[in-house]
């Protein structure tokens, strides 16, 4: 698939915009924790209160302060996104590396599995896996990683094949370098930029998938993520009673986080595509 790169308009401005937004969201969340230093799951009095000076973003149907929930939710969502993406990247990198370096039958088998998993809608697989396993944060991370490594593997493999065909690898080989040496000293360092660029996309995907699972009530019930807040709002009378503050800010935060990650990955891609001209 051709990469979605808007030209001229964004350049690395998109990178800057993305980073700025993510910092702003973090500041909002940390300030939120400071303003609401109690257990966010505890009731703070009246239920379904609109935003006021008492409750800056109102309360939900159990009287919980929305700002308290949101500020923790942001941190949970970002944390799960980062950990899941790191795990995804690690699994994808290792499998892609093995496929590219060993080649032959092993490569063919791995790539058929990757094809198959890419044809499987990750949401369906994730929903089924989460339903079968116990819904905990770590199981969610596991499920996110299991359903999204194939994309990383495919990109990594293609990139490594490209590196392997370049002159300096031949030079290393002719000097008697082994497979392990080439992999660790040459291939992995050379593919780090593309791996990092891919990881941003993985974080984005993981945050969206986690939010979706939590929205359906399949997330970890003991932690608050942005998706869980939306799940509560939908399950209760919040919509019918006009309590927009229970679900508008939570969804907006997901959108803004995903938007900033999209901008960052666009910026990184742009940087890489420019740099590659000099590198190879």
């Amino acid at each position: 698939m051709k990469k979605i790169i808007p030209e001229a308009i964004f350049h690395e401005i998109s990178l800057r915009v993305g980073l700025l937004i993510i910092v702003a969201v973090l500041v909002f969340s940390l300030a939120g924790v400071l303003v609401t230093p109690w257990n966010p799951l505890e009731s703070r009095g009246d239920i379904l209160q609109p935003p006021s000076s008492n409750h800056l973003l109102g309360t939900d149907d159990l009287g919980r302060d929305i700002l308290a929930l949101l500020s923790r939710g942001v941190l949970t969502s970002l944390f799960i996104g980062l950990v899941a993406a790191a795990t995804t990247t690690l699994i994808g990198l290792l499998i892609g590396l093995v496929a590219a370096l060993y080649g032959g039958v092993l490569d063919a088998i791995i790539m058929r599995i990757v094809d198959f998993l890419l044809a499987t809608p990750s949401l369906v697989l994730a929903m089924i896996l989460v339903a079968i396993l116990k819904p905990s944060i770590w199981n969610i991370v596991l499920v996110l990683a299991v359903t999204s490594w194939p994309g990383v593997s495919r990109v990594v493999r293609a990139h490594i094949l490209q590196i392997l065909s370049s002159g300096y690898i031949d030079a290393a080989k002719s000097l008697g370098a082994g497979l392990k040496h080439i992999a660790i000293k040459h291939v992995v360092p050379a593919s780090l930029p593309i791996i990092l660029a891919n990881m941003v996309t993985s974080v984005r995907g993981a945050i969206l998938l986690e939010a979706g699972l939590s929205f359906l009530g399949l997330g970890d019930p003991s932690t608050i993520s942005l998706g869980t807040i939306l799940f509560y709002a939908r399950r209760t009378a919040a919509l019918a009673s006009g309590a927009w503050w229970t679900f508008v800010p939570a969804g907006l935060l997901i959108t803004v986080i995903v938007y900033s990650l999209t901008m960052i990955s666009l910026g990184v891609e742009r940087l890489l595509s420019r740099e590659r001209v000099y590198r190879y």
Partner: protein, 327 residues
């Protein structure tokens, strides 16, 4: 003849993937921890009676025998009986009104988005760099980033609950009632407004962004300058020359959307209570109805690979390069 070989080659790949999927869908539900019978059977049930029920589902046999039985039944189009809809065959539950509802909703959503997104991308891409382009392309990424379930909630809340412009939930107001076809169709269409709007907001950005970039690239190519120099109007260049390039990309994007189609269906149908396969998937998860889940799993993979197959066939006819450069 050439086409037949091409088609058979692609068909073989489809068969392999579907075969893999049937293997995976058998083992995934049996090897993972968790006892499916717990959800269906009362744990206090007398062990004798419990074993009797397990036997009636064939769950007492060794795994490999179950697998052979499963494959044989699958080839006959038999996916067994649902756990939660007691007495109903999985095939009858899936291939019924729910599938029709989902097909109507998703195909119209996708078609609408493809047309809107492609046309927007075509005209904005032609004017890449203009103020309108900056504003639209910058803001479309916001829509691109909004999770589909939130978009659905917002539309349901404002248009449904607050302004009462659309029905809040469901597929029809006349369930079980006798009405004439036109009244029914109009009511059905009214129920479709919210879900369709959600799906358009979900799908249009991908088409728009991609096509815009393609057109912005093509615009600076030599043949376009030549056509301009020949005195062709902008409209004719767009319609007769650029549109042909763009059509191929529209097909590519549509194929790439097929995994998104599933999440679109699950979330939109769940929020709007649309009686389709997406909502069935969600409900089957909640009820741990493994046979139905297995059926939906196989169905979605089959749909994805067949969509890919159709796209390959379409490429064959649209893109003359494929005919010449067959592998």
């Amino acid at each position: 003849m050439r086409f037949i070989i091409y088609f058979l080659y692609k068909l073989l790949q489809v068969v392999i993937v579907i075969f893999l999927a049937s293997i995976v869908s058998f083992f995934i539900f049996r090897l993972l921890p968790g006892d499916p019978t717990l959800s269906m059977l009362d744990p206090r049930l007398d062990p004798e009676a419990r074993n009797e029920i397990l036997r009636s589902f064939g769950l007492d046999k060794p795994l490999y025998e179950q697998f052979i039985l499963y494959l044989r039944n699958l080839l006959r189009g038999d996916l067994g009986y649902s756990f939660s809809f007691v007495g109903y065959r999985v095939v009858d539950i899936i291939f019924g009104p729910r599938l029709v509802n989902t097909l109507i909703l998703m195909s119209s959503g996708l078609a609408l988005s493809a047309v809107i997104g492609t046309l927007m991308g075509l005209f904005i891409g032609w004017r890449a760099g203009s103020l309108l382009d900056r504003i639209l392309t910058g803001s479309i990424y916001m829509f691109f980033s909004a999770p589909v379930f939130w978009t659905a909630l917002i539309i349901q809340f404002y248009l449904g609950y607050q302004y009462k412009l659309i029905p809040i939930s469901g597929t029809s107001s006349y369930i079980g009632a006798e009405v004439d076809l036109i009244t029914y169709a109009l009511d059905y269409a009214r129920h479709m407004i919210g879900p369709l709007l959600t799906l358009s907001i979900f799908f249009v950005p991908s088409y728009f962004i991609y096509i815009r970039n393609v057109v912005a690239d093509i615009r600076s190519e030599d043949f376009v300058s030549t056509l301009k120099a020949l005195g062709l109007s902008e409209w004719r260049i767009l319609r007769n020359h650029i549109f042909r390039h763009v059509a191929i990309h529209t097909i590519t994007i549509t194929t790439n959307q097929s995994p998104l189609l599933v999440s679109g269906a699950v979330f939109t149908e769940t929020v709007f209570g649309w009686n389709g396969i997406g909502r069935l998937l969600y409900e089957s998860i909640l009820k741990t109805d493994y046979p139905v889940l297995q059926g939906i799993f196989l169905l979605t993979i089959t749909v994805v690979v067949i969509a890919n197959l159709l796209a390959d066939v379409a490429y064959y006819f649209i893109d003359p390069r494929i005919k010449r450069g067959l592998r």
